[in-house]
Homo-oligomer: 372 residues x 2
């Protein structure tokens, strides 16, 4: 057996009404809440209304910061950090998809540390971050159970992550009803993001017996949901399964981190505004073919867990779920691969990866196949 | 899907040399360590020598308390709590099997709370316990990843548990070399204890999709180790697997708790001094037959995970591993069942269980089969 570390810093409450059934797990966190959410996700999902009603009932003050952008920038979390500090809140409630939850982690640090946001990337802070409660409104990010936060860094023309165990949310409330407001595209893209977490956590140099348990369980559940995803049958059971699987995939990457699919995908999001999950998804079939040449056994295990026979089958599924409608030039892809190879996560890909390898994966995925 | 809560408060480091590879995870816990261990397990395992050398190197003071008895009593942890308080230690290192690790949790509380040990059972304390690092020297207890502590309470003629999230060890170091000093009987008995955790966590009213993942994974690994256990082939791979499986089983009961096999087993230990794991093991076959009548699907899943065909096969394995050489009277079993039915864990058994049911399981296991 390999050496491993296993850590999960988050108490997870899963199921219908879990937020109200476990009120004290929020109210114990402090005396004033700073609620971090996006412009619409908090309201549309119903989670913001629920948390406000709970806080009012418990006589806990709160301030709402609903300015989190998609793929939040350093500037965006800086503004949130300043507002949080000014509010004198002593805990954070993050509501939303990956963007608000990741931003909540940055804000939890910036509120009590007088640093520039870029210093987050190197964990250059000393004061313990404010405690966080997390309520996901998508089934994809897994951020509710990780210590990672992905921020957009214009200076480097990409997204970068920081990871620190003190930003594991103290509690996460996973109620599938909060994911019902997702559009079809958001539901599909975030599901692909979660699947990508499980796959990249499995085809990972630091994967362990323990992280594999979470990754394969997540993939099996996805496998059971794929047909409903393709047919857009978002019944409540499917929504619950996807939320559970995305949490398991989050537990996976909390141990392993992601690898090159995420690393390459960041550029597709940064430069072409392709949603994060879709960006990964456009690359996944070629990413699997690439890893299959060096780690066939593990790629086959991924396919088996998904209940698929071959990478071609996998590709057919992806083509039913998402389509690339954007043209890329070779020069663009060269730039993207030069950025991606610098990501820390690149070194963890199961097959050791060069900049040229990344270029080829992107070329096959985004140019050879064309738009469709 | 069922509602569930998932919590794991312990950072687990697994593998050869994990203690030295992660020194800072111990040294960050405080300035003076109170080392809680048994009369022999700390020394024999080598873990005590290792931790002392590490603390010396880091210039961290320590005091050793090596008086933990098997199945520690309230009196025993009271003495430890007083000694810890007097030592002015600010963190605890627990080394040993379940007894020292469970005692460490009680001592962590008693050192900073001026209460009688019996108050632990009702969580009647207010000050946050000292942080704990745990080093298991058996592969059975799982205590290194749970928030539970089992103490012997002469007043009630049994063992009882308390559970509090603040006593999750902050860090656990699982190095199979520390389990090499176990005798054959201790290795077998503790392995059966761990298997029993996984089974009781699975045949449990509050089992969830999530706890099932851990339970079934643990059982599959046991299944792969059974033949080596029976043949007493304790090679290093088997030791690692058993340690890993016992940790997974610990994660299972950290979510679910145990049920009636443990509840009944406590009397066998309290009154007849039968080692804890063996006590459960003597009852497990009949316990499975009992549950099989109400929950056949799940009992069959247990057998399948263990790679066994039937409960009779399971019984044959247990007969190879342990034998009952103690006579019991019906009066004794009546008393034991009257005690066991009062355990909080009884209500969680998948098949609702009466005192009479417990009596019958014990009678079949301990009288009808006789000593052998």
């Amino acid at each position: 057996m390999n050496k491993f570390k296993f850590q999960s810093g988050t108490k997870v409450f899963f199921g219908a009404n879990c937020l109200f059934d476990n009120k004290s797990e929020v109210t114990r966190l402090g005396k004033k809440a700073f609620i971090v959410t996006g412009k619409t996700s908090g309201i549309k999902s119903g989670a913001l209304t629920d948390i406000i009603s709970m806080l009012n009932e418990a006589n806990i003050e709160y301030q709402i910061f609903d300015k989190i952008e998609n793929n939040p920038s350093l500037e965006n979390v800086k503004e949130g950090g300043a507002a949080c500090r000014q509010s004198k809140a002593d805990f954070i409630v993050g509501i939303g998809g990956g963007s608000p939850l990741d931003a909540a982690k940055a804000i939890a640090i910036l509120a009590v540390n007088d640093i520039e946001p870029i210093q987050l990337i190197k964990n250059q802070f000393t004061q313990k971050p404010l405690p966080i409660a997390a309520i996901p409104t998508t089934a994809g990010t897994g951020s509710e159970v990780t210590a990672a936060s992905i921020l957009t860094i214009p200076e480097y023309e990409t997204k970068m992550s920081f990871v620190h165990e003190d930003v594991f949310p103290k509690a996460a409330f996973l109620d599938a009803k909060y994911t019902e407001s997702m559009t079809r595209d958001i539901a599909v893209n975030t599901a692909i993001d979660a699947m990508s977490h499980a796959i990249e956590g499995y085809l990972n140099k630091i994967a362990s017996t323990m992280s594999d348990v979470f990754a394969l369980e997540a993939l099996e559940i996805f496998g059971a949901c794929i047909e409903n995803l393709c047919e857009e049958k978002f019944d409540s059971e499917t929504r619950e399964k996807l939320l559970y699987a995305s949490m398991l995939a989050g537990l996976t990457i909390a141990q392993t981190g992601t690898t090159i699919a995420h690393g390459m995908g960041y550029s597709l999001t940064y430069f072409k505004d392709i949603p994060h999950g879709k960006a990964n998804g456009l690359l996944l079939a070629e990413y699997l073919r690439y890893n299959n040449e060096a780690a066939q056994g593990r790629v086959q295990a991924v396919l088996k867990a998904l209940n698929l026979i071959s990478i071609d089958d996998f590709e057919k599924i992806m083509n039913r779920l998402i389509r690339n409608d954007i043209d890329f030039t070779r020069e663009e892809l060269k730039k993207y691969s030069s950025l991606a190879v610098k990501q820390k996560s690149t070194a963890k890909n199961l097959r050791s990866t060069s900049e040229e390898d990344m270029y080829r994966i992107m070329e096959k995925s985004l140019i050879d196949r064309g738009t469709h």
